[in-house]
Symmetry: C2
Subunit: 212 residues, 2 copies
Amino acid sequence: MAEYVLHCMAQSGHSYKVALMLELCGADWKPEWVDFFNGATRTEEFRDTLNEMGEVPVLVHGDDILTQSAVIMDDLSEKFGAFGWENDEERREILRWTIFDNQKVSGLLGPLRFLRTLMKTGETDVVKWLDGRSKSALAILDKHFAKNDFAIGKKPTSADFSLCSYLFYEGELGIDLEAYPNVTKWLGRIKALPGWKHPYDLMPGHPLPDKT
Amino acid sequence: MAEYVLHCMAQSGHSYKVALMLELCGADWKPEWVDFFNGATRTEEFRDTLNEMGEVPVLVHGDDILTQSAVIMDDLSEKFGAFGWENDEERREILRWTIFDNQKVSGLLGPLRFLRTLMKTGETDVVKWLDGRSKSALAILDKHFAKNDFAIGKKPTSADFSLCSYLFYEGELGIDLEAYPNVTKWLGRIKALPGWKHPYDLMPGHPLPDKT
């Protein structure tokens, strides 16, 4: 029995944030597959016992059940003494970029990839709207990473794992990341962290089950 | 000269979060109108001197420039000893609901109201998509507030100011909040806090400047 059990699935960038951090921290963890595509997170049982918000990831650690990737990563950074903050200024910088990520990076890239690549809706107005807003956010990141190695400066933190998550599903976004060279270099720095793995190598559920 | 200067505009729910908290804390503050609708947040000057993320609110306090409503509210809760957390568990509960808000409540209601009511795009597919997702988030909130007076339990915190912000522009959302009775009751509890004011009574810029 692993010490940490992460309820997740391979296609979830929000889950990947936590899976990557567990892996880089050297935690004793295992993934527990959630059948999101067949509605598992929408069931009463899931919402009553794991997460009222109806989302993955959920991290179970003994009697503790933690939800929201940002909260889980904050907890892990304290437990492992890694990728976290050392003072209030760092804590607020991590918060600043994590919020930006959840609202405008992962928050848009997640639905964009879901509709464009997983659901194959075609280039609908919704896809085009998400695409445009995602690119605005990527331009802001690209400018930031022209001057900063990582989200809050010189060292990698959970804010980087938050921001990078959907970007590692690169071929599935329908966005050419070469247009954002500083983002690409920053992703390379994350990939170079000892123990880094691709989402599909950390969590089960890929490829998408054939539902025909 | 006020001690705190909040760069904002009346139509911004994200700005309202901070304006409301400043007001309820009894801070010596004044709003500084940002001409968002004519592109002020997209200028190089704004991004280089106030916020690289190109967003309001921005709070200026002496030499400090703070951005992201969640970060600003965290700072204010410490300075005023109000609406914040007293231990790590409360801090993480505030974070959990603030992230949910930024991604799925304000993060969707903001664009929904912008397109539907301010830009008057009509019921496009984008508006319908945002409407559906906003209603899913409201249903989660409604279930939560059936059992909780405020976001993290018994006492109001910055997480409530985050979650409630766009909901006080009720007539402009195109969503009937009566369908979410527990949300409505919770909004009533926030309105009952001494000093509460509507966004249009706290910040300049309403009504929308006539651009014809």
